[in-house]
């Protein structure tokens, strides 16, 4: 039942830059073993029966779907802007629900405690009111008008700034963050996570960035983001229950959790239950 919805979404399952003749990657998607092979020009994905699955390259990753009537892969328009640097950050394997990984990405209140002195710092813990909506026309969750004090908002930041954030959830296991770009305040840096659901309780997070940053070394950009995600992993592997509870009685939100509340409500409305707990435990 929970698989029905999930099968018809697209998932990042490999880095395009790691494709090449003779290279195969064996992994698992929604509990199904899959194999990725071919090249970045002609990627191939096969499932455990040997059947060919669709395979496309987008946002520097190989994407596939297990469904027969997949919804279209969401668009990130910044991916087509020539002056951006595209930074696939590798894979972070986490023993948690793919939905918990997305929800954590949408949360700013944890920055001072989990990403101390990078994305936040005490005593600057307050989360000011912001706007959240489920945009029915595009079927996405959006959170806007978010501002947060950050000691080092990005690799390119030279001083603490109050960063502006917008979050977008275009699919249950993907989220896109638009945030103030320190060297060019009128533009947005784009940071996304594409979460590959290995099982309802395990996932691989593929972070990807489209930045305006002409000076930082690629390895430093990846390192900066990897450090953030490893800090998140120490949280994600210690949340109970492992699956994301959709029953509002199981976990108590506060005002700063408006995005998470909308995300859970949206999942529930869509029936996107893979990785969720739908009844009170």
């Amino acid at each position: 039942m929970s698989l029905d919805y999930a099968r018809n979404d697209w998932y990042a399952v490999a880095l395009a830059g790691h494709m090449g003749p003779g290279i195969t990657r064996n992994t698992q998607l929604l509990g199904t073993p899959i194999r990725i092979s071919g090249t970045a020009d002609a990627p191939r994905v096969t499932d455990d029966t040997g059947a060919e699955r669709p395979a496309v390259i987008r946002y520097d990753h190989v994407w596939t779907t297990l469904g027969d009537t997949p919804r279209p892969l969401f668009d990130i328009t910044e991916a087509d802007e020539p002056d951006r640097r595209f930074v696939p950050c590798g894979a972070v394997r986490v023993r948690c629900s793919p939905l918990r990984a997305v929800e954590n990405f949408l949360d700013i209140a944890h920055f001072p405690f989990v990403h101390t002195d990078i994305l936040g710092a005490e005593p600057h813990t307050e989360v000011a009111p912001y706007k959240v909506e489920i945009r029915d026309d595009v079927d996405e969750v959006w959170a806007t008008q978010i501002g947060f004090y950050q000691p080092q908002a990005a690799k390119s930041a030279t001083e603490a700034i109050t960063t502006q954030y917008e979050y977008r959830v275009p699919a249950p296991t993907s989220a896109v963050l638009y945030k103030t770009c320190p060297p060019r305040p009128e533009a947005w840096d784009v940071i996304a996570i594409f979460v590959q659901p290995v099982s309802p309780e395990e996932c691989i997070v593929w972070p990807w960035m489209a930045l305006i940053d002409e000076t930082s070394h690629f390895a430093d950009l990846v390192q900066f983001q990897q450090e953030i995600f490893l800090q998140d992993r120490s949280i994600l592997e210690n949340q109970l229950p492992v699956r994301l509870p959709l029953d509002p009685r199981m976990e108590i939100p506060t005002r700063s959790d408006m995005t998470s509340v909308a995300y859970r409500r949206w999942l529930k409305k869509k029936g996107a239950f893979y990785g969720a707990l739908t009844e009170a435990a």
Binding site: F113, E122, L240
Partner: protein, 219 residues
């Protein structure tokens, strides 16, 4: 209500936090600056984070994830994202009964207000050390009678759960965590000299190996 020995008093200092397992319940046990203990379900009511990863600040336990503070009674007292907010009474951890007897911390997965019953422990004992063995409590008990002390005599079981190791008297206080994992808190008579304590400590290591071998062979 059955109580479970989860640690030694001296291993949980002021302002410290530990994780405990009690009859299948994942708990956090922590001590404030005045020495008072609290035992709760190991789960922040906000987003389910294990509170045993948290930190003590100002006599409250703070969750590592969003820094929410909980007072001794389990009541949420502070939400950093909204410093002006008076947290509603509904934000409260599940609290459990806890006490300290014979230098051992005991918890029971029952309401914090209920009296906690601990087994009788012979007078004059004090904690020596705790070990965790990949063995059942039954294997520990059996192995304790088959593991020679100081390379010679086998221990003798005495009254009140005492075990005689030569001249020394000890008690093994067990907390079985699952089928193949048991915490053992070792108490020794307070008059034991340092050399005896070292000898008993070495015996504990032999006991653990014997119990683990027994468990492996029966698996």
């Amino acid at each position: 209500m059955t109580s479970y020995p989860v640690g030694l008093t001296r291993d949980l200092a002021e302002n410290r936090v530990m994780r405990a397992q009690a009859g299948g319940v994942d708990m956090v046990v922590w001590r404030n600056s005045k020495g008072a203990l609290a035992a709760w379900n190991n789960r922040c009511p906000h987003r389910g984070m294990r509170l045993s990863h948290g930190f003590v600040r100002g006599d409250r336990l703070a969750c590592l994830y969003h820094g929410w503070h909980y007072g001794q009674n389990g009541q949420c007292a502070y939400v950093p994202a909204h410093p002006e907010l008076d947290p509603p009474a509904s934000i409260k951890t599940q609290t459990y009964a806890v006490s300290e007897v014979a230098g051992v911390i005991w918890v029971a997965p029952t309401d914090a207000q209920e009296a906690i019953e601990t087994p009788a422990i012979a007078a004059g004992l004090e904690p020596l050390r705790s070990i965790t063995a990949s063995a059942s409590e039954a294997a520990i008990t059996t192995a304790s009678l088959q593991t020679a002390f100081s390379g010679s005599d086998l221990p003798q079981a005495g009254a009140n759960g005492l075990l005689h190791l030569g001249e020394r008297q000890i008690a093994l206080i067990c907390n079985q965590i699952d089928a193949t994992s048991t915490q053992v808190h070792v108490l020794i008579d307070a008059s034991a000299a340092l050399s005896d304590r070292r000898a008993v400590s070495r015996w504990c290591d032999a006991l653990r190996r014997a119990a683990e071998t027994m468990t492996e062979e029966s698996a």
